[in-house]
C-alpha cells in the first residue's frame, strides 16, 4: 500500500505538470501505473520512486511519471456522429466561408495514439476532388511522447482497427504489416504531430477553425478545464467549431462556448456573430 505522503507528492507532480486530478481513491491506479516506471529506473517500489523524486528530481523521470498517469483510450471514428457532422455540416460551411484563403486548420487536442486526427484525415480524403486546391492542416498534439511515437508510426493492432473503423476504410487505407495494420502513408502525411501540454499557452500552434478536444478535459478540475477552453477559444475565429466528448458539458465551466442543437458534442463560440448553427438545448437563457 502506498504511503499517503508519497501519494500526495506524486499526485502533486502529476497535477502541476498536466492538470490531471487524482483523488485519493485513485491511489491503486497510481501505484499500478507507476510500478513500471519505478522498475525501469531501477527501483523496487513506489517508496523508492518517491524517495528519488524527493532527492534529485530528474526531468525525464518526472515526465515519465506524468505520462504514465495519462489515459490514452481512443478509437477510430469515436462516437461516429462528430465525423459525420464534420463531413456534412462543418466542412461544407468552411468550404464556403474560407473561399478567400482556401485554407482550413483543424486541431486534435489530446490525440493519444492518433486515431482521432487520422479519422479526420480519412474524412477529408473521402471528400475527393472537392478538396482540390485547398490546404488543410491537421495538427495533432498530446502530452505523451510514447503516444505521439505510436501515432506517427501509424501501426495498429487487429483489435484497434476493428474498433470504430468501417471495413471499407480498412480495405482502402490500410495494409497488412506482419500482425499489425499500417495506415496509408498519404493519410499519415496529412497529420502533423506535436508534443503539447494543454496547460501551456497554445498561441504558437496558430489559429484553428475546428478543434477536437474530446474526453481530455474530463481528467482535469473545473478551473483548469475553464482555462484550457478559454485558451482554445483564443485560437479560434468567431465561426469556429469545438468538439467535446459526448458526456462532457460547458455548463459551469466556460461561457465562451455553447452547444449546437441536434449535434451532440459540437459547440460554437458565444459571440456577437454566433448563430452560425442552430442553438442547442444546453444554452444559457440570457443569450438572445
Amino acid at each position: 500500500m502506498i504511503h499517503p505522503e508519497d501519494f500526495e507528492l506524486l499526485r502533486r507532480i502529476v497535477k502541476s505538470r498536466s492538470g490531471l486530478t487524482l483523488s485519493p481513491d485513485k491511489a491503486y491506479l497510481l501505484e499500478n501505473r507507476l510500478m513500471a516506471v519505478a522498475r525501469k529506473w531501477g527501483m523496487n517500489d513506489i517508496e523508492g520512486l518517491a524517495a528519488t523524486v524527493r532527492g534529485t528530481p530528474n526531468e525525464e523521470l518526472l515526465r515519465e511519471i506524468t505520462e504514465a498517469m495519462t489515459t490514452n483510450e481512443t478509437l477510430f471514428f469515436r462516437d461516429q456522429s462528430p465525423f459525420e457532422q464534420l463531413e456534412k455540416v462543418v466542412l461544407p460551411r468552411l468550404l464556403e466561408s474560407r473561399q478567400g484563403t482556401r485554407h482550413i486548420r483543424i486541431w486534435s487536442a489530446g490525440c493519444s495514439s492518433g486515431q482521432e486526427p487520422y479519422s479526420v484525415a480519412m474524412v477529408l480524403k473521402q471528400l475527393g476532388s472537392v478538396m482540390d486546391n485547398w490546404r488543410v492542416d491537421i495538427v495533432a498534439t498530446d502530452i505523451s511522447r510514447t503516444m505521439l511515437d505510436k501515432a506517427r508510426a501509424g501501426l495498429y493492432t487487429q483489435f484497434e482497427v476493428q474498433r470504430g473503423l468501417p471495413i471499407a476504410m480498412l480495405m482502402k487505407y490500410f495494409s497488412q504489416a506482419g500482425d499489425k495494420w499500417e495506415l496509408d502513408p498519404g493519410i499519415r502525411a496529412m497529420v502533423h504531430f506535436d508534443e503539447f501540454n494543454l496547460l501551456n499557452d497554445p498561441a504558437p500552434l496558430g489559429r484553428f477553425d475546428v478543434v477536437f478536444c474530446r474526453n481530455v478535459l474530463i481528467y482535469l478540475d473545473q478551473p483548469t478545464k475553464g482555462r484550457v477552453l478559454e485558451n482554445i477559444r483564443s485560437l479560434m475565429p468567431d465561426d469556429g467549431v469545438l468538439y467535446m466528448g459526448g458526456a462532457e458539458t460547458v455548463m459551469g465551466v466556460t461561457e465562451k462556448f455553447q452547444p449546437v442543437s441536434e449535434h451532440r458534442g459540437m459547440y460554437e463560440i458565444v459571440s456577437a456573430t454566433a448563430g452560425n448553427y442552430p442553438r442547442g438545448t444546453e444554452n444559457y437563457a440570457s443569450n438572445p
Binding site: 478509437l75 461516429q80 487487429q158 476493428q162 474498433r163 470504430g164 468501417p166 471495413i167 480495405m171 497488412q176
Partner: protein, 121 residues
C-alpha cells in the same frame, strides 16, 4: 427486437456470440453450418447474420451467395466473423455481399462497433 442468426460450427463461439448479442438486445438464432443457416432463413429472415467462414457442409461464402438469391435475402446485414484475417479474404467477402467483417478473436466491443456501423444498433 431485432434478430441475429449466428452461424458457426463451434458451439463455444455460438455461445459467446449469443451472450454478447443478447446483451445488445438481439433475439439470437443459431446454425452450425451454412445449410442449416439457409433453412433458418427460409423459415424467418433475420435482421442480421454473424457468419463464420470455414464450416462443414456449406461454408460462409456459399451461404452468403445462396442467401442473397433468396426472396428478401438482400435485407439482412451480414457480418463475417472469421479467423481469415487477411486483406484478400476481406475483399472476397465484401465483394460477395457481406456488409462488415470481424477478424477473430472478437469481443463485445468489436461486435457492438461493427453492428452500429451497419445501422443494426
Amino acid at each position: 427486437m431485432k434478430s441475429c442468426l449466428v452461424v458457426d460450427d463451434s458451439r463455444v463461439i455460438r455461445m459467446v456470440a449469443r451472450k454478447i448479442l443478447e446483451e445488445l438486445e438481439f433475439e439470437v438464432i443459431e446454425a452450425e453450418d451454412g445449410q442449416v443457416a439457409i433453412d433458418r432463413c427460409n423459415q424467418t429472415m433475420p435482421d442480421a447474420v454473424l457468419l463464420d467462414w470455414h464450416m462443414p457442409v456449406m461454408d460462409g461464402i456459399e451461404f452468403l451467395n445462396a442467401l442473397r438469391q433468396l426472396p428478401g435475402g438482400d435485407k439482412p446485414q451480414v457480418v463475417f466473423c472469421t479467423t481469415k484475417n487477411d486483406l484478400s479474404h476481406i475483399q472476397e467477402a465484401i465483394s460477395a455481399g457481406a456488409n462488415e467483417y470481424i477478424m477473430k478473436p472478437f469481443d463485445s466491443e468489436i461486435i457492438q462497433s461493427k453492428f452500429s456501423q451497419v445501422g443494426l444498433i
